[in-house]
């Protein structure tokens, strides 16, 4: 399904309202067109010396038509514009739901700003196509057909004279449309250039200052600004022309009617009333004419935007629940990695991030993972809740391949603490309760105590009600990490996966947290990833990863005795601690 096909399916949902709206529009147009006709009749009475009550009769009809026209117009606009808003709402919801299904890998390849711009701006553009676009699409032809037909019925020759500027009008519209589109694109491009210059200047401010390049930077900026200004003026020159040109053309048309029509009135083969009606009709037609070019550009922009949305819609979620997944049932499980390799884009060869890992974590046991930055530790953790899928081998939970479980079932088993402590900009309490639908105060307090957040919460002005700000900006790094740990503990899931989640917490506090953790998570199956040896020391088994491979494995004592990378890391850590303690 292409973008326009998808859009069409949305429009069809609201076809009744569009149909009704279109009928109301035709009603509006009829009433609008009736008024000059009535005016002509009234003026005719005056011109030919009829009775005052005939004039008043037509006057009353004009008032009625005017009010009725207003009412029907309100309904038609509300119907069509609101249907556009409903579709905008539908598309935005559907797109959001679709985004939720796309895996983490998708978000790494996309810029947040670009995605947001699609969900906000592109959908807006599509809505303009559906609202004002469709309205004018119905309106303009209706006005023309009606108006020209009525004018012909009054006087053929005068109509033909009035239509003389028409080819010029069509020519002007076509000419402007393409050039304006081109110009506004050029302005947008120049704007983007200006923004990225500013962005770059600010990001590299330390270099600018260090090399005293402020003046040069300003000079470049002035130049870019000049280009921008010129492009803008070019656009303004064109845009500014449309109004006056259209105005002048319609003015000239009226002039022709007055000149030629007046000549015929004087000759006596036309009534002033006919000229009055003509002037009125030409006024009515002026607006759809002026809006014609605008409508075309709305439609074009809307189509392009819909295609951009389609690019997202047509991405199939790479990680999804299998059809007819059997639930795992409640209980405690172990985790197993069976000859697992992982590389981006399914690469399982030399470029893989994880290579041939085999490990079993029996239920209730703890696995520790250490290694340098880039050894593949985080990736290991991410394979368990299927943030990524293995390239070969299998990750199993309770003996079942994780890919055979529904995503919700699988992920509900896991209390996951990611390396980047992401919090939502709500209260601390709500962040902690994030993973559960219902949670008691005691459970939260328990998690707060275990993660040693209790002292911090006591200082916060509003305790757990304190708003943590965007991404938890008001909290320190350590507080954020402990909050994300508490959030995972509150879920009370049978697995706990900690991805180096205490790196910003000082060693002493970390020690206390881990000790507290051990006493509460006795029966949980844990994977603890850390760059600090102290965090994994007590684990039942420790894997040392290097370049995606397990290079050492065993208990803390065994590994220290072995004198390999683990022992090295351990020694370095002891040195660091020693250094920290020198006052």
């Amino acid at each position: 399904m292409g973008g326009m096909g998808r859009l069409w399916s949305y429009v069809l949902r609201y076809w009744r309202r569009y149909l009704l709206g279109a009928l109301c529009l035709l009603g509006t147009v009829s009433l609008v067109m009736w008024i000059p006709w009535l005016m002509r009749a009234a003026v005719k009475v005056i011109e030919q010396g009829g009775s005052l009550w005939d004039v008043r009769y037509y006057a009353a009809l004009i008032a009625v038509a005017g009010v009725a026209q207003g009412a029907v117009r309100t309904i038609s606009r509300a119907l069509i514009f609101n249907a556009g808003r409903d579709i905008e709402y539908d598309i935005r919801n559907d797109l959001f739901a679709h985004l939720q299904k796309l895996p983490v890998g998708f978000y790494h390849a996309q810029r947040t700003g670009d995605l947001m711009s699609r969900v906000i701006n592109d959908i807006s553009a599509v809505r303009s196509l559906l609202g004002p676009g469709i309205l004018n699409f119905v309106n303009a032809p209706a006005y023309y057909v009606y108006g020209i037909a009525l004018m012909f019925s009054i006087d053929v020759r005068l109509t033909l004279v009035a239509l003389i500027p028409c080819p010029l009008l069509i020519y002007a519209v076509r000419r402007f449309r393409g050039r304006i589109l081109k110009c506004s694109l050029a302005v947008q491009r120049q704007m983007a250039e200006l923004s990225s210059h500013i962005q770059e200047n600010l990001s590299g401010m330390h270099v600018v200052k260090a090399y005293t390049q402020e003046a040069n930077q300003i000079r470049d900026f002035v130049e870019l600004n000049r280009d921008f200004q010129e492009k803008n003026m070019e656009l303004a020159r064109l845009r500014g022309l449309i109004g006056p040109v259209m105005q002048a053309l319609s003015g000239v048309t009226i002039l022709l009617v007055i000149g030629y029509g007046g000549l015929r009135v004087i000759r006596g083969d036309l009534l002033i009333a006919d000229i009055v009606a003509f002037i009125a009709y030409l006024h009515v037609l002026a607006w759809p004419t002026a809006a014609f070019g605008w409508m075309l550009s709305l439609i074009e922009r809307g189509r392009a935007a819909m295609e951009r949305l389609e690019e997202i819609f047509k991405i199939e979620p790479a990680i999804a629940s299998p059809a007819g997944a059997q639930p795992l049932g409640n209980g405690k499980y172990g985790i197993e990695f069976r000859n697992v390799s992982f590389g981006h884009d399914g690469k399982a060869n030399g470029e893989a991030i994880i290579k041939d890992i085999d490990v079993v974590v029996p239920r209730g046991r703890t696995l520790g993972i250490v290694g340098r930055t880039g050894a593949g530790k985080s990736t290991f953790a991410q394979l368990i809740p299927r943030l990524y899928d293995v390239s070969s081998g299998a990750v199993c939970v309770g003996g079942r391949d994780v890919r055979s479980l529904s995503l919700a079932d699988l992920r509900k088993l896991i209390g996951y603490v990611p390396q980047d402590p992401f919090l939502f900009s709500t209260s601390l309490g709500r962040n902690l309760a994030f993973g559960r639908d219902e949670v008691t105060d005691e459970e939260i307090e328990q998690a707060v105590r275990t993660t040693r957040l209790d002292r911090d919460v006591a200082i916060f002005p509003e305790g757990l009600q304190t708003i943590v700000g965007e991404r938890g900006i008001t909290l320190s790094g350590g507080q954020k990490q402990r909050a994300t740990l508490a959030r995972a503990l509150v879920t009370d899931a049978p697995f706990l996966v900690l991805d180096d989640c205490l790196s910003s917490v000082d060693a002493e506090t970390e020690d206390m947290i881990l000790r507290g953790l051990r006493s509460t998570i006795d029966e949980k199956t844990c994977v603890i990833i850390s760059h600090r040896i102290s965090a994994v020391k007590e684990a039942d088994e420790i894997l040392v990863l290097d370049e995606g491979r397990v290079i050492e494995r065993g208990t803390h004592q065994e590994l220290v005795a072995r004198g390999g990378l683990y022992a090295d890391l351990y020694r370095q850590q002891q040195l660091t601690e020693e250094l920290e303690h020198i006052e």
């Binding site: 905008e88 796309l102 969900v119 906000i120 200052k209 900026f221 939502f424 709500r430 994030f434």
Partner: protein, 626 residues
């Protein structure tokens, strides 16, 4: 708990919905609904118009002409119909038609020129404003950039200035002249026929009340719409950045519900606004018809009696139409003005940010320049009460090569940033060539000091521009020399365009090692007497490492060097090593002396340098992003 991800309260900068192509942090600023007209702000805005005041007044002076041409047309039609058509005067009719043509063309031409001049003034003065902001930002101290996200500053110079442009384009500046035109219309109608004027104007008071009512309602819904789209923006930004967390905790359904709520609220506000706008629009149209009906009803008798002509009725109909349109548009202009004022407020706030680190009143440029660096009892903190440097004193003699070592957070990087006066210290003094850096001419000081930071920043453009940074008067020979000495030739061989090789944003098409070589070449181009270097920790392949070491040796030769050392070779070749620990200098001496001491340096050495031969792989991207 009902709402796990509370949407952030906040708002996009302005009324239109195009806020989102920016990073989410900018979408969370509070939107103030200020006055639509703030004398203080207008006065400051006026200052940017002063250079173009002739154009501005020319545009203003065109307004009466524009209005005259517009208002003359119905009157001319009246004469054409009543006097010449009814009177059968063909000659007079063509005369009037000619006048009408003049009025029509006059209106078009003066309208165009007015718009053009207004936009010219707007574009020029706003370009000036943009440059003023940019230039001001260049002078702000580094501490300002630590606190303020880049995106927000970009918004000031782009979107906020755009909102001001909208103010010009929407004709918000001409509200006053619109009002004058309304008075003219009343006057003309009264002049033509008092009774008919009163009849037609009879609708104005109720219309005024009705329009006002809808305008008020519409404005409230505009505000709601802006708030709600901003909430969608905020929520969306957060949901996209936190999508992994939402998926991990299986919160998709709930988050969808939250989004749906926000989305529906936005739709509802818009639909309400659609109804108001449709009603407002239709009402104005209907009022025109009703006025016409009133005219015919009350004027019909006089027209039949020949007291007034048909043309008068036509003219009145036209005048009434012209009367209601500005009334209808006023509400739009009001909203634009409101946004413009709050944008102006934010812009001026930025322009009012004190520069803090500026040239002293009497800047000193000591001659001759010796290159000596002296820290005397320097205390410094980024945040009050958490000192980063605590009484640091040391001297680097001209031509001496000093290495700084210490654990993370010991104050090394801060020390070198202070030397170039990126920050001002709280106590003590830093002297370069015997003069306190705060007395130095700021740009002269920085010219003498070459800084190479760990994270090499490259600008998009080409290699040459990155070496000269746009500085004019650098000869091709000196660039070629720098390229040769810093081993940049090897970098360039892979790019066919040589010095013209394209550099992508942040130099992403160059490897870490290549970027380091380029940054060393940059120093050689600028030839500073003092070199300040924060060696990169990320490792590179052996071949590149050898080239970097070789280039470093060339760059350091004959210069006073202060180096945060991460390479074994650097500390070995240093004349002296200073050991930082918790913001203090704890040990000083040569490598051999310090090793013998078995103190902090000894441990640091074991920790950082002894394992140097082991390769450190590059960062795991996926791990870093989650």
């Amino acid at each position: 708990m009902a709402n796990p991800i509370e949407p952030t309260n906040g708002a996009a900068r302005n009324g239109n919905e195009k806020a989102a192509s920016l990073p989410p942090d900018q979408l969370h600023q509070e939107e103030e609904y200020g006055k639509a007209y703030d004398v203080r702000l207008i006065r400051r805005l006026w200052r940017f118009l002063i250079p173009y005041k002739r154009l501005f007044f020319a545009a203003l002076l065109l307004l009466p002409l524009l209005q005259l041409c517009g208002l003359a047309q119905p009157y001319l039609m009246k004469i054409a119909i009543d006097r010449y058509m009814a009177g059968g005067d063909l000659h007079g009719l063509f005369g009037i038609a000619a006048l009408l043509l003049v009025a029509v063309l006059g209106e078009a031409v003066s309208g165009y020129v007015h718009y053009y001049l207004t936009m010219l003034v707007a574009q020029r003065s706003l370009a000036d404003m943009r440059i003023a902001i940019f230039a001001h930002v260049q002078k702000l101290p580094m501490s300002y950039f630590d606190r303020n996200p880049v995106g927000r500053l970009v918004t000031r110079m782009t979107s906020d200035v755009d909102v001001l442009q909208e103010m010009f384009a929407a004709g918000a500046m001409t509200v006053l002249s619109d009002f004058v035109m309304l008075l003219w219309i009343i006057a003309i109608m009264l002049y033509i026929n008092v009774k008919l004027a009163l009849v037609s104007l009879a609708l104005i008071p109720p219309m005024f009340i009705a329009i006002n009512f809808f305008r008020h309602k519409a404005r409230r819904t505009y505000r709601l719409i802006r708030e709600r789209i901003a909430r969608i923006n905020g929520y969306l930004g957060e949901a996209i950045s936190g999508m992994a967390v939402i998926q991990l905790f299986v919160r998709e359904k709930r988050s969808y519900r939250d989004f749906d709520d926000l989305n529906a609220a936005h739709r509802d506000a818009n639909q309400l606004s659609n109804v108001y706008e449709a009603a407002l629009y239709s009402m104005v149209e209907a009022a025109g018809s009703v006025s016409l009906a009133l005219l015919l009803w009350y004027g019909g008798g006089e027209a039949l009696a020949g007291a007034i002509g048909i043309g008068t009725i036509v003219a009145f109909k036209e005048y009434i139409n012209r009367f209601f349109v500005p009334l209808r548009d006023f509400s739009q202009k009001y909203t634009v003005m409101q946004s413009a004022m709050s944008s102006a407020e934010r812009i001026f706030q930025l322009l009012d940010t004190p520069i803090a680190i500026d040239n002293p009143p009497k800047p000193v440029v000591p001659k001759p320049f010796t290159g000596e660096v002296r820290f005397e009892n320097v205390w410094f903190s980024y945040k009050p009460d958490t000192p980063v440097l605590k009484g640091v004193s040391f001297t680097v003699a001209p031509g001496e090569r000093v290495a700084i070592v210490g654990a993370t957070g010991s104050g090394k990087t801060t020390t070198i940033k202070l030397l170039s006066r990126f920050y001002d210290i709280q106590r003590g003094s830093i002297k370069v060539s015997g003069v306190d850096v705060r007395d130095w001419d700021l740009s002269a000081l920085r010219r003498h000091i070459g800084v190479v930071l760990q994270d090499v920043f490259l600008f998009s453009g080409d290699v040459r521009a990155n070496l000269t940074l746009g500085e004019s008067g650098i000869s091709d020979e000196s660039i070629a020399e720098a390229v040769r000495c810093a081993n940049v030739e090897s970098v360039l061989t892979r790019h066919s365009d040589g010095l013209g090789a394209h550099v992508r944003e942040r130099g992403s098409n160059f490897s870490t090692g290549q970027r380091q070589l380029l940054s060393l070449a940059r120093v050689l181009v600028f030839q500073p007497e003092i070199l300040v270097l924060d060696e990169a920790t990320s490792s590179v392949d052996t071949e590149t490492e050898l080239m970097i070491q070789d280039a470093l040796e060339t760059v350091m030769k004959g210069r006073t060097c202060l180096v945060i050392a991460h390479r074994l070779s650097t500390i070995r070749n240093a004349d002296r090593i200073i050991v930082f620990h918790h913001g203090e200098i704890r040990e000083t001496g040569t490598h051999a002396e310090l090793m013998q001491k078995q103190g902090i340096y000894y441990r640091l050495y074991q920790l950082q340098y002894a394992t140097e031969e082991e390769p450190k792989p590059a960062d795991d991207d996926t791990a870093a992003k989650l």
